[in-house]
Symmetry: C2
Subunit: 362 residues, 2 copies
Amino acid sequence: MLTTTVGLGDRAYPIYIGAGLIDQADLFIRRMPQKRAALVTNETVAALYLPRLQAALEGAGVSVLPIVVRDGEAFKTWETLNAIYDALLSARCERRTALIALGGGVVGDITGFAAATYLRGVPFIQVPTTLLAQVDSSVGGKTAINHPLGKNMIGAFYQPAAVIADLATLSTLPPRELSAGLAEVIKYGFLGDRDFIDWLDAHLEALLARDPTALAFAVERCCRNKADIVARDERETGDRALLNLGHTFGHAIEAALGFGRWLHGEAVGAGMVLAARTSRQLGHLDDADVARVTAMVARAGLPVTPPHLEIAQWLDLMGHDKKVEGGRLRFVLLKSLGQAYVDAAVPRPVLEEVLAGAAVDG
Amino acid sequence: MLTTTVGLGDRAYPIYIGAGLIDQADLFIRRMPQKRAALVTNETVAALYLPRLQAALEGAGVSVLPIVVRDGEAFKTWETLNAIYDALLSARCERRTALIALGGGVVGDITGFAAATYLRGVPFIQVPTTLLAQVDSSVGGKTAINHPLGKNMIGAFYQPAAVIADLATLSTLPPRELSAGLAEVIKYGFLGDRDFIDWLDAHLEALLARDPTALAFAVERCCRNKADIVARDERETGDRALLNLGHTFGHAIEAALGFGRWLHGEAVGAGMVLAARTSRQLGHLDDADVARVTAMVARAGLPVTPPHLEIAQWLDLMGHDKKVEGGRLRFVLLKSLGQAYVDAAVPRPVLEEVLAGAAVDG
């Protein structure tokens, strides 16, 4: 088992990475103030892992309330959140009762937001079961639900007490979800880790084949990168925004098509290609750089071309981005491969050119 | 103008207390990162003060988005919160756009929760216009909405950037609301400020007559008491629970009757009498002490007798209290007048005796 720590003073917490961790109840109990937990998961993950985790916890004397929500980004809504609150209140869960999120990014985000707001905050443990959640969304304390007008518009910064990433759960991940997770993995390379880009060039096929050593390396590397950034800038007043490489474009794609049509990672994949092209138009990247980003995204099994949207729709949807400041769009772009920056002055004609060409020359 | 500070390190903030403060735009602007604000109020307060505050801010170059919600505790719900989110998103309010709450406890609580969760947190300014909000709910960062199963069940700890209490707004407060505010004023005396109990004995009629000097003294005294407690225990792991004197009983009354039938302060008034009686049954107070509490509540124009509820309903509703721990009810009771404590071991027969007698011998 590998352990990385997110250094946030008295709110610091461990990320445990290894195979078979959901059977190790002691990892959970040491971070719980009370031997009682509500275990939130979705119907798909419940069928695979709920009985095992529940049995491990109950075997260690923990009283467990399972709460099963529907599967998919389309259900990261008020309605699902309210169903979680209703279950917690009906069972009289208390301020010291932990909420455990067993699942992917949707389950983690919505359970985290429930934990942040139920009785004004209860302990929270992330048990990510998708690659995307293990390398990205379970770490760092961003919790949220979607609003019809935009992705993750309602939420809170609320750190978990622990992240327990069981690599063995990746064996049951559908191929499409694996690829979606690789979008975030690749992101860490291009935004700030040149050596990792080279490693990915050599190991992408091993990751796609679910080679355990490669997966363990990638999950740990991404978690460490993210933990460092979050420790420096928990509330995204600076560097943390770089983690949104590809996301301004990506969130617009998700909102335009309806949440859940494209997986988040798919939208981020296409979004990274758009960010690379924008960076080329601004003179930072050359054609070979853009080709390298595009090829990596394609090799991961991800779309490199966004769906067709009108320019006006792109701009309207991106105008709801959380990074907008003083009415100005702020994009995460690349100075070079492995060096991201925030650009608040992308000229409109550049954007229009990139977006107009997006759906055809991809 | 009096100024008190809530000492919370880099999140410290001022409480400004004085007459005519809503005309002083500079008090607002110095705490706003952007000359843009969404101003949330209810239909009653909007008719009285919205144009004035809006004019003051706009006169100072601030762009203002007014958001008017319905008046009353019954509207401290998801539905109202969603209406606020919709308005913020439609107007493309950003992370640096401030939310200003102009109104009483309901407006403050729901606007604060919106500020805590919109885009994962935006700046927030409290402008309390009721006595209850000025002395209690606007200070300390507790934000919430109600759930059918319990008061303030969903919320967040989220501190404002400033509290601006304009004493002149109390001139338009209906008498019933003034009395409700006095419940929280009286609470500060009995929970921990003996001198203030004596002052109240001498000045309660002056407060009821809205004597400006008396009101200014009481608001400042309560805010200072609260600021001290919040600075010591922001997240209610200790002393802050004492601020809930009368509230475990009171919240049960509010939930049982339907939110809004009794005002929060009315329920707290009757709840303090029940807390005093429970304290007497446990041998801490004598009959004269209970009579003093009861008389003060009555003089303030508040009910001293709760509505009739079955014992089972009392216990069921109080079982949803946020202070419940390990299934045990925890009551804020009185060791003596001016000295509250938390009691997690009130024997059931004592409770039953107090509650059975409650509605008849009050």
